[in-house]
């Protein structure tokens, strides 16, 4: 942490200096006092900014609406408050000035942020989901995306990997491509940041918009197809500085209880099955069975790997912000610190955020601003595959004790008494003792200390889980900074020229170490010391000419602009091997020959021109049209530019004269259509054939290229049409929005699988094929109760997603891909007329019963590992012709339900999220249950023809492509529940505070999953194994990090 703080020390100093500057003002003249009240309610208004115009002399009304300020005769006083009409009054020697302020109908008009501008919500014609910063603040969230889960219709946010610091999956509408990442474009205050949403502190958010339909996102042309998230951060307000402090502590655990049987549980289960006659042990020596079961029961200190690996994680969080300024200069600054422990040992995340927004005005014509955002984080990653750690047997402690050593030695003697081989025969190398008779208390346990499956209860002969994890380390550090500025000049009334220039820097370091002890045989070539550093910087310049004018009934808003974005990426990566066994690990210990260095150098450029006209007539007829032309250096030389048009129409029927309905207070029809490009998942050199540098014994080698030269590689185009209707009832207390979209994706960029014989690679990027997707989105909101003491708002949303592949150029189907882990996992099929990434395999009709195993007691959680399967075509052979569709990872529909209640000083909010109809292929049981299962009795299939003799059914191993692994991934989650209490204002104002709220919250307090789901996280999908090809292979689970339940206590203070 110290290092993180040092990085930002200078920033803090800077902020404090600014603060000092904004607050130093001259005292002069005499003292003026007064009360500000509301015209509408006739009650005092606290927090009104009172400012002597042209100076930094200002104050804010107190809780009773009172203010006191030093003035001179002739000064002009300005009273401002959000949502009220600003008043300016010239002082002529009076000592008391009471002011009445009234609501500003224009200001009350809700605004949505659209790309390169804003639009009145009533004039919006696209599909835009909006969340206010106050909604993010109302619930406790460790990061922004977490606060959004379930809040936005058509936006699915899931815990693909719930480890602290890992990014969730954000999917806006249907996947826009078959390949690659489908994460949306993130724009923070107009800047396309190179970081992700983690770099934005939830407390800094003013509002957040998601542009879902093509017409809205088309102004971002090239990168908009996955949706665009526009984040607007808080800006300063003039007047007395405001401070805010938010702090919480939270404890978290994995949601699901242990899923694996411990040694004693397994022994008890075995005895029960034997007694019930379910198992057939006639082929084994009964003395051996008894010896083994007693060993399971009596092993001292045996701990299940789950109990060893999982823990209670503690997270602490502190945010501090300040804002204020004079009439001409305003600032908002914040810092945030969070330290989170994961629910698995070694997992953790520590981050520091800082933000400073300054906006200034010089005269009437010029405005300028500067924004800084800094972020530093360190993420500690579980340095060994969770699936592999958990498949260790729960039959021994993690570290030896005197008792466990005595036990294994006695067990060895007993085994030899039964005529079995000595345990020491199991030693295959490794850094620990070579004999169980040399063990010392505190030594880490290896599986072979407990014998192997023919003479004891030990496991695979692998290193024990502690050996694996204690000798490994992995982390990621990110330093991120963004500085952007703008100057705006008002050429004439309503015509603005604005240019923005920004720079962005991102330094990411990854570290991975696997030591000698992590390998059961201590092979030096299995050791790793890998470190990589990647520096990405970007320069973004946007110049826009904006015309914004209300002329009679004509509301015109037009913008044209030019933008360029240059990315510079450099990186080095060191991969070391033959790492010596040492407590202190660094590269100096390694032989220089054992370090492979790779360097990266990439320059990427994008140029764009764009324009848009938004027009509204009499608040009734709404039109918007935009055009963007993008050029991107990553595409083939012949096809670098793409043009993306969009148009949308709207009709506010309720504003028509003929509309007399009071019950239906809002009726708005919307239509939009537009084209978007996608390039976000394109690698830098996909259009070029570059030879991959590799070390060889003869010096540098130029390895096989990952791509082929393709000067015609170009944009994929996504043309989407959106139909929307907004309804409001009873003065808009109840609102319903329905959107239906239909999207055609052409020239899809696909990682097309090819035979290794062609170019030596499994796939290459090509433009190939078309796809359609469609969906229905409903959003219902209601103000159920609205009175002084009690308000209750609910908001519900639901979305469906359908995709279909409509064309694949010359073929009916993309090459099928088997994806998973070590040959396990389904066959993924993508064919014309089908959905994306259908999972295919054999249909099973029940597992082979345990009684057909020669030795079912052999290891905990054992199953036969084989299932009866259906010979679909009846040809007597089980092969790929018998495959059927066994699963699909896209949900049929998903929904969110949010309720917020405030009653007197209490506030209470709930956030539900559900997803239904998706399936996962869960690999884990294949390891926990049957990885090392014994063989079937000879009489099960005497002639080895793959057909069980007792019932005539075909059977096959579960680890082959079968539906054994298919599980229901539906879930309903209470993502967040928060109860807050705001302390009495008068009470706390005595200690100088404006407000104080304490709260308690829980994430995933309730989480319901499908009956047949057996692991910890139905949302966890593996996307990192080799062969992963994006949505075409989406849906396999391999050791997914668990769903976390946490309880939080916190407070917000404003002063």
């Amino acid at each position: 942490m110290k290092r993180l703080l040092v990085k930002f020390k200078s920033f803090l100093m800077f902020t404090l200096l600014l603060l000092y500057h904004f607050n130093s003002y001259a005292q002069q003249g005499y003292e003026l006092t007064g009360i500000v009240t509301s015209v509408e309610t006739n009650t005092p208004i606290p927090g009104v900014s009172v400012l002597v115009k042209g100076t930094s002399n200002g104050t804010v009304t107190d809780f009773d609406g009172k203010y006191t300020i030093q003035v001179s005769s002739g000064d002009v006083l300005q009273f401002t408050y959000i949502g009220l009409t600003t008043q300016t009054i010239t002082i002529s020697n009076q000592t008391t000035l009471n002011v009445k302020m009234e609501e500003d109908s224009e200001a009350l008009e809700e605004i949505v942020v659209v790309g390169y501008g804003t639009r009145k919500k009533s004039h919006n014609t696209g599909a835009i989901a909006q969340v206010k910063g106050s909604d993010v603040a109302a619930i406790q969230a460790t990061r922004v995306d977490e606060a959004l889960a379930g809040k936005l219709s058509g936006v699915l946010i899931q815990n693909q990997n719930p480890e602290p610091g890992a990014n969730p999956k954000i999917q806006v509408r249907a996947a826009s491509s078959l390949s690659g990442d489908s994460g949306p474009l993130i724009i923070v205050d107009g800047y396309q940041i190179s970081g992700n949403l983690a770099t934005v502190n939830p407390s800094d958010i003013e509002s957040l918009e998601v542009l879902k339909d093509a017409a809205s996102a088309a102004i971002y042309g090239a990168n908009g197809a996955n949706g665009v998230i526009l984040v607007t951060t808080k800006k300063g307000k003039s007047g007395r500085p405001q401070f805010s402090y938010n702090s919480f502590i939270s404890i978290s655990n994995k949601y699901r209880k242990n899923i694996l049987k411990s040694g004693p549980e397994w022994a008890a289960f075995s005895r029960q099955e034997i007694a019930a006659g379910n198992w057939d042990l006639s082929q084994i020596d009964p003395a051996f069975v008894e010896y083994r079961l007693r060993a399971y029961e009596n092993s001292p200190g045996a701990i299940s790997p789950e109990d060893w690996l999982f823990r209670t994680g503690v997270t602490t969080n502190h945010d501090f912000s300040m804002s204020g300024g004079s009439e001409n200069s305003k600032f908002f600054g914040s810092v945030g610190y969070q330290n989170a422990e994961g629910v698995a040992i070694t997992q953790g995340f520590e981050r520091f955020n800082a933000r400073l927004n300054i906006d200034t005005q010089s005269g009437e014509k010029f405005k300028a601003g500067l924004s800084f955002n800094g972020f530093a984080s360190r993420r500690d990653i579980l340095a060994h595959d969770m699936r592999d750690l958990l498949r260790a047997y729960g039959v021994h402690p993690v570290y030896h004790t005197a008792e466990s050593i005595a036990f294994v030695q006695a067990l060895d003697a007993e085994a030899q008494g039964l005529g079995l081989s000595p345990f020491d025969d199991g030693y295959r190398g490794g850094i620990g003792p070579t004999s169980i008779y040399e063990l010392q208390p505190g030594d880490r346990v290896d599986d072979w200390h407990y014998g192997r499956d023919n003479n004891g209860i030990g496991g695979s002969g692998d290193a024990g889980p502690a050996q694996k994890l204690d000798n490994a380390d992995a982390w990621q550090k990110v330093y991120f900074a963004n500085l952007s500025s703008y100057i705006q000049y008002e050429i004439m009334d309503g015509l603005f020229l604005k240019t923005a220039l920004g720079g962005d820097f991102n330094n990411t370091q990854n570290y991975y170490y696997q030591g000698l002890g992590a390998d059961s045989r201590a092979r030096t070539d299995q050791t790793d010391l890998d470190e990589s550093t990647r520096n990405a910087s970007s320069i973004l310049s946007t110049t826009t000419l904006n015309y914004n004018k209300l002329i009679g009934k004509h509301d015109i808003d037009a913008v044209i602009g030019y933008e360029f974005l240059n990315n510079y990426i450099t990186g080095t990566s060191l991969v070391g091997t033959n790492v010596p066994n040492s407590d202190i690990i660094n590269y100096n210990l390694l032989n220089p020959e054992d370090i492979t260095t790779t360097e990266t150098e990439i320059t990427r450029a994008r140029k764009s021109v764009f324009g848009r006209v938004q027009y509204a007539y009499d608040n009734r007829y709404l039109v918007s049209a935009s055009l963007r032309r993008d050029g991107d250096s990553r595409f083939g030389a012949n096809k670098q530019y793409g043009v993306f048009p969009a148009m949308s129409l709207g009709w506010n029927v309720h504003n028509e004269n003929f509309w007399k309905s009071n019950a239906l207070s809002l009726l708005k029809l919307r239509f939009s259509t537009g084209s978007l490009g996608t390039s976000s998942f394109l690698n830098d050199f996909d259009a070029q054939s570059l030879l991959n540098p590799i070390p060889t014994v003869f010096g540098t080698g130029f390895g096989i290229s990952g791509n082929v030269n393709n000067p015609d590689l170009t944009w994929q185009t996504n043309t989407e049409t959106n139909y929307g209707i907004d309804l409001g009832f009873v003065n808009n207390r109840f609102r319903l929005s329905v959107d239906y979209y239909n999207s055609d994706i052409e020239d899809m960029l696909i990682g097309s699988t090819v035979s290794y014989t062609t170019v030596g690679q499994p796939s290459i990027i090509v433009n190939n094929g078309d796809m359609t997707s469609s969906g229905l989105e409903l959003e219902l909101s209601a103000s159920l109760i609205q009175n002084e003491n009690f308000t209750w708002d609910i908001n519900a949303n639901l979305a469906t997603v359908n995709t279909e592949i409509t064309d694949l150029d010359n073929v009916d189907e993309l090459p099928q891909i088997q994806y998973g882990q070590s040959g396990r996992g389904p066959i993924f099929r993508n064919y014309v007329g089908g959905e994306i990434g259908e999972m295919w395999g054999l249909e099973t009709i029940g597992e082979v019963e345990m009684r057909f195993l020669e030795d079912p007691t052999r290891h905990p959680n054992n199953t036969s590992g084989e299932s009866y399967v259906v010979d679909q075509n009846g040809d007597g052979v089980i092969d790929s012709d018998d495959y059927v569709k066994i699963g699909q990872a896209t949900p049929d529909f998903y929904w969110g339900l949010n309720s917020s209640i405030s009653y007197k000083a209490f506030d209470f909010s709930m956030q539900w999220q559900g997803s239904h109809g998706a399936e996962v292929y869960n690999i884990d049981p294949l390891y926990y249950e049957s990885q090392w299962s014994g063989r079937l009795v000879d009489t099960f299939d005497a002639n080895d023809d793959g057909i069980a003799d007792h019932n005539g059914e075909h059977y096959i191993g579960n680890r082959r492509q079968t539906d054994h692994g298919i599980q229901d991934a539906s879930y309903i989650a209470l993502r967040n529940l928060t109860i807050g209490y705001t302390l009495n204002r008068e009470l706390i104002s005595k200690i100088g505070l404006n407000s104080l709220r304490i709260y308690a919250a829980s994430t995933n307090l309730l989480y319901i999953w499908g009956d047949d789901y057996t692991s910890y996280n139905p949302e966890g999908i593996e996307t990192g194994n080799s062969g992963y090809a994006g949505p075409t292979t989406y849906g396999v689970q391999v050791g997914a990090s668990p769903i976390i339940r946490s309880f939080t206590f916190g407070l917000n203070v404003n002063f």
């Binding site: 092979r523 110049t543 450029a605 030879l691 003869f698 290794y756 014989t757 099928q816 191993g957 680890r959």
Partner: protein
């Protein structure tokens, strides 16, 4: 005026931009390359990925080693189950060799350096030879990359006649033997490999002439049998005088093969086979009274192979050594000239150097017919070359699988399964071998 200056300054922001060309300065582009030395290095490098699969297929499929730990007995059972092993053996083997072929093709197609082209042709021939012996018919690519390649598996015979043999002949004509010292392809290695290829396809006449050239020219090239059997193997003996060609393994060079290396397999370090030694091999040593080589090949407990001392990742994989060539030469002579048994003693005396080194007497006079000599040479091959990935391919080549394995093996299982991913990726144009 002030405002105009400011506007001009603002417009400067927008002019500082680059064009859209994007060429990395630090990576070679295949289209602009002029020196193909690096590409040739890669062709050598990719051979690494074939080494361990070759070892396991050569010995564990045969009667030298066992992989019978449940549930992984498929290498020792002759049925379709072997396909579950593809991700560890057949697929990496296949990928590595085609990558070597593509790299070699690039050199052959584009390089102006005749030595580089000769070495590339040697590597291409070696790669196709391995592929054909393991899979039978395979897809042929002679370009450095071709997305519209005809993926149909070409008959093995055509690959021998049109690629492997001409490539090796070209390599013989342009290479010299200077590469022996640093482990690059040489004329004598190409000639030895060509002899081995002719033995494989049963052209004993052509085989004899090439093998004779190697045996007779070895001393001039500096290739000699090691005095001690033990001095052929192990890290310290890499590139010793008996080696014609080896794939050089170095722990400093990370290869693309992510599993237990061949040295680990023989020593019983992979959990799929803790006790890999097939006792049939022990019996063979005992029957031959072969004490010295036995002690250097199998451990005292008769459970592991110890030819490589330990699981040291720096030990080279021997592709071809002089003893192998001598044994093949004897075999060729026996097939060509010993139909009446009259040459038996002469032929068997060729093995004397190898036998003497092993502390064994000459076989001359112990076998008198062509058939007996054939068996004597085969037995000698087995003991000399155990755990060098040769046995299974020798059994298949000589048609002695059933006799030596002691069971009737369906000839479908003489070859190994094509990786399933290839069948999927080619939409079935690349077909699976029958029986898998």
């Amino acid at each position: 005026m002030k405002k105009i200056i400011l506007l001009l300054a603002m417009s400067l922001f927008i002019t500082a931009c680059e064009d859209l060309d994007q060429v990395p300065s630090n990576i070679a582009n295949s289209d602009s390359l002029t020196d193909f030395e690096g590409v040739l290095n890669a062709a050598y490098f990719y051979q690494l990925g074939s080494v361990t699969p070759m070892a396991v297929m050569g010995d564990f499929r045969a009667d030298n080693a066992l992989m019978i730990e449940e549930p992984f007995p498929s290498f020792d059972r002759f049925n379709s189950d072997l396909i579950v092993m593809e991700d560890q053996f057949f697929e990496p083997f296949y990928i590595a060799l085609y990558r070597s072929i593509l790299s070699a093709n690039n050199v052959i197609e584009n390089s102006a350096n005749t030595t580089d082209v000769g070495e590339a042709k040697f590597l291409r021939a070696l790669s196709y030879f391995k592929l054909v012996r393991v899979f039978g018919d395979v897809t042929v690519n002679l370009s450095s990359g071709d997305l519209s390649l005809d993926l149909t598996r070409q008959p093995a015979a055509d690959i021998y006649n049109n690629i492997i043999i001409p490539d090796l002949q070209d390599a013989i004509s342009v290479l010299n033997n200077s590469g022996l010292s640093n482990g690059r392809a040489t004329q004598i290695a190409a000639q030895g490999l060509l002899g081995k290829v002719y033995m494989q396809i049963g052209d004993f006449t052509s085989a004899e002439s090439h093998l004779a050239a190697v045996v007779n020219g070895a001393a001039d090239a500096g290739v000699t049998l090691q005095a001690n059997f033990a001095d052929i193997f192990g890290d310290a003996n890499d590139l010793n005088s008996e080696i014609l060609f080896a794939t050089q393994v170095s722990s400093s060079i990370p290869d693309e093969y992510g599993f237990t290396e061949f040295t680990g397999w023989y020593i019983g370090n992979d959990s799929k086979s803790f006790e890999p030694l097939d006792l049939d091999l022990v019996a063979a040593f005992d029957a031959a009274g072969d004490v010295n080589r036995k002690a250097l090949t199998v451990d005292e407990d008769a459970v592991r192979g110890i030819k490589y001392l330990s699981e040291n990742p720096d030990q080279d994989w021997i592709e071809l050594r002089l003893a192998d060539v001598i044994l093949l030469y004897a075999e060729a002579l026996n097939e060509n000239n010993n139909g009446d048994g009259s040459q038996s003693a002469t032929i068997l005396s060729l093995l004397d150097d190898i036998r003497t080194r092993a502390g064994l007497a000459s076989l001359s006079g112990t076998a008198n017919t062509q058939i007996e000599v054939r068996q004597a040479i085969a037995d000698e091959r087995r003991l000399e070359l155990a755990f060098e990935g040769q046995r299974w391919f020798d059994l298949v080549r000589t048609g002695t699988v059933d006799v030596e394995m002691g069971e009737t093996v369906n000839p479908n299982y003489y070859v190994f399964p094509i990786p399933d991913s290839e069948i999927l990726a080619s939409n079935g144009i690349i077909t699976q071998n029958p029986g898998y």
